[in-house]
């Protein structure tokens, strides 16, 4: 620590150069932070507080094919299953196609049975929802977005389901509003609009008695694989075979469908750090080259080879650490902006941690060659200017 003033002084020997190099490092780590958080978010989809115990059962051959409602009784009979609910893709928007609404026809008792503790709501509003056939229970974010109030009549346009009169427009009465308990779910749930399956099934002109998919809560998450296999065995060789998997796996597989996002992000970061290596490496080399007589003087004063090596390495480390910290801090500050661009994705600052390791690695790679050179320096030659 007593050498800190010395290192600090040499670092700022050429102010402009150090500042420019530092800014390049800041920029590189800003990108690192942003891209890593995005990558982390895609690799760790959030499924809420009840997520670990949640299974999802779909038609094995296609997400667009439905499952018979009668499957519910059979799934419920599988040992280890705490509750089953059934859901259907409604494909809705409000007023114009851009305003997507994740409207979900649900059976309220089993739906709450699955998502125990996921929601915060008012009990009297919940009672009103139970008593209102065309009632809707709406996420608070969605209410805010469109300025809806309790008691409003809201028309939603379904792109799929026609009513008996041929209309695609469905009317709902907003009777309740809810929030999520797990903040990492807030984005994903931001456009959710719950309404009664019975209202939906009676109203639709086709597809009656079929549901889109089932969700199950298992008592013991460790049994998920075995229970999934048991559910699928029930319907093997039927005309609607099923595929059951933990909700987390389903979310991951869905993200993988978007493409290899991780590869793209890593390739970009590879290019960024490859160029950074050259830039910083060049700066460190130059700075040591210019200081050779000074380093020789240090050695004359009794600094050992290891001391000199340490001094140069410490300088490199200090440069990279300052740059990395500033860059990562900037990317942390940028999280709210990225969030707007990536709706439905939760960002975790945890993803920034590997940046510190990368900074140390970078410092060692760019610091070592000049440090070794400084270590091997021969005092007589160096002072004579023969180097």
């Amino acid at each position: 620590m007593k050498f800190f003033p010395l290192i600090w002084a040499t670092l700022w020997r050429k102010k402009a150069r150090t500042i420019f190099t530092l800014l390049s490092i800041v920029v590189a780590f800003l990108l690192f932070g942003v891209l890593e958080t995005v990558d982390y978010a895609f690799a760790h989809p959030s499924t809420g507080t009840s997520g670990a115990n949640l299974l999802i059962t779909l038609n094995k051959y296609s997400i667009t094919l439905s499952l018979p409602f009668s499957d519910e009784q059979e799934i419920r009979s599988v040992p280890g299953i705490a509750d089953v609910t059934w859901l259907t893709w409604f494909g809705a928007y409000y007023q114009e196609p851009k305003q997507f609404v994740f409207a979900l026809p649900i059976d309220i008792d089993t739906y709450l049975g699955i998502h125990k503790g996921d929601f915060v709501y008012d009990d009297t509003q919940m009672q009103a929802f139970r008593n209102t056939r065309d009632g809707a229970f709406v996420n608070t974010e969605l209410m805010k977005k469109h300025g809806w109030k309790i008691g409003d009549r809201i028309p939603l346009h379904s792109t799929i389901w026609t009513q008996k009169n041929g209309s695609l427009d469905w009317n709902f009465l907003v009777v309740g509003v809810y929030d999520v308990t797990d903040p990492t779910q807030r984005n994903q749930q931001a456009s959710t609009f719950l309404f009664h399956y019975d209202y939906f099934d009676e109203g639709r002109s086709f597809g009656k008695g079929n549901v889109g998919w089932y969700e199950e809560r298992v008592e013991d998450a460790a049994q998920s694989a075995a229970i999934s296999a048991r559910i699928d065995a029930l319907f093997a060789n039927s005309s609607n075979e099923t595929k059951t998997q933990p909700a987390k796996d389903f979310a991951l597989a869905f993200i993988k469908q978007l493409g290899d996002i991780g590869f793209v992000l890593r390739a970009i970061l590879g290019a960024v750090f490859f160029t950074l290596l050259f830039l910083t490496g060049n700066t460190m080399m130059q700075s040591v080259r210019e200081r050779i007589p000074e380093l020789a003087v240090l050695k004359t004063l009794g600094f050992t080879d290891a001391n000199v090596l340490g001094l140069v390495l410490a300088e490199s480390l200090l440069l990279c650490a300052i740059g990395a910290l500033l860059g990562l801090a900037a990317s942390y500050g940028a999280l709210p902006i990225i969030k707007q661009g990536l709706q439905g994705v939760e960002l975790s600052p945890l993803a920034l941690l590997p940046g510190i390791g990368v900074a140390v690695l970078l410092a060692l790679i760019v610091g070592l060659p000049p440090a070794l050179r400084a270590k091997r320096l021969n005092i007589v030659d160096a002072l004579a200017g023969k180097h």
């Binding site: 402009a16 990108l31 997400i63 667009t64 490859f274 160029t275 060049n282």
Partner: protein
């Protein structure tokens, strides 16, 4: 003055090899920026290209009104009959309308690279397919036969998804389907799909009715009358769109997202590269301060000195820009990838490094070089002559 400029520039460039380390920082920094920019934008270009090529101005797509996409839509047999008799439809020699009644569903087929299921479009097509879509060509195996479970797979899908080569068997709902052949279709979106006989698909998924009707018109100009006839017909409630418009709408969002991401990343990288360029050029100017001062002392003007430094920075960044674009082209042009399209199904497309993208990349490179070169150039031009000479 021009002579002076040439003299200094030549001198500068001749000393470049002595400053290889510092100069390469500019080149490599800019190579990185341009390579990333061009590669990411090539994704957007490829995706847009695939969807833009999917339409013909004289073809129209008819969906149930308010459905937005084929997957949501539902048309009955009666609807198809009404559409068949609309004015403006092209007819074959026997007087039958050139219309393909189609049924679109999605099948789970594992992706080759991840091994996880992906949504692949399975499209039932009508008997008039060959007339309505003349661009479709079988490149391996043979056409599917109607009324048996056979399908043909698009060349793009074969590259991205498992078990789709001609002769393989695909187990879909309730039954095995034979992949009888592989087709190309001008690199458009249908190359990401599986095609089979529409009624066979319908019976397999137990669905009467269709998703859409694709029609060939007499000419692109016949569209307005055709659309009017259908939308005013009280028996129908349909949306009629020109095919290019339908597909362009599907590419808009993703193309825009990729462009925004690509440009933002490249802007941030460019800022970093600009600092690198500033560093290198300041070093270059410092290393040559005696020469520059000497030149100024013997009567060279400030402007030629300034311009010569700018030219050096520009030359280096141009080199970086060309290298970056070349790397992007070499590694990624024609690289086949797939993503989830707007219609909930996989779209296979190729990264396309277009000429416009190469020009964009080189323009970016030059801008970075100019910005990074300007301040060092200014310092070189303003160098106090006497002091610089004394420093030696």
């Amino acid at each position: 003055m021009f002579k002076q400029l040439i003299a200094i520039t030549v001198m500068n460039l001749q000393t470049l090899p002595q400053r290889l380390g510092a100069s390469s920082v500019i080149v490599i920094g800019i190579t990185g920026v341009v390579a990333v920019l061009v590669s990411v934008l090539a994704m957007a270009a490829g995706f847009h290209h695939t969807l833009a090529d999917s339409g013909r101005a004289d073809r129209a797509i008819i969906l149930r009104g308010g459905s937005d996409a084929e997957l949501n839509s539902n048309l009955t047999r009666e609807d198809i009959d009404v559409i068949s008799s609309a004015p403006g439809l092209a007819k074959d020699a026997g007087g039958k309308a050139l219309l393909s009644n189609e049924l679109v569903t999605v099948a789970n087929v594992p992706k080759i690279d991840t091994g996880t299921d992906a949504n692949v479009t399975m499209r039932g097509v009508g008997l008039k397919l060959a007339d309505v879509r003349p661009e479709l060509k079988i490149v391996a195996g043979r056409m599917f036969r109607p009324a048996v479970r056979e399908l043909i797979a698009g060349a793009g899908a074969v590259k991205q998804f498992r078990g789709l080569t001609a002769g393989s068997v695909l187990h879909l709902r309730n039954a095995d389907w034979l992949v009888s052949g592989v087709f190309t279709s001008n690199g458009d979106i249908h190359e990401s799909e599986l095609l089979a006989d529409v009624d066979t698909v319908g019976s397999s998924i137990e669905r009467g009715g269709y998703s859409s009707a694709i029609v060939l018109l007499d000419s692109p100009a016949a569209f307005a009358a055709f659309k009017d006839a259908l939308t005013t017909d009280p028996r129908l409630k349909v949306d009629v769109q020109r095919e290019p418009e339908y597909y362009a709408a599907q590419s808009r969002d993703l193309t825009r997202t990729i462009n925004i991401v690509g440009n933002s990343v490249a802007i941030i990288m460019a800022i970093g590269a600009m600092f690198g360029a500033l560093n290198s050029m300041y070093t270059a100017v410092a290393a040559r301060s005696v020469e520059i001062a000497t030149l100024r002392a013997i009567g060279f003007g400030g402007l030629p000195v300034l311009l010569s430094v700018m030219i050096e920075a520009l030359a280096l960044s141009l080199l970086g820009g060309i290298l970056g674009a070349a790397l992007a082209w070499f590694f990624f042009n024609g690289h086949s990838v797939s993503t989830l399209g707007a219609a909930f199904a996989q779209v296979v497309f190729q990264l396309t490094v277009t000429r416009a993208l190469i020009v964009t990349g080189i323009v970016w490179a030059c801008l970075i070089g100019l910005l990074g070169g300007f301040f060092p150039a200014l310092r070189a031009a303003r160098l106090p002559v006497a002091e610089a000479l004394r420093a030696s």
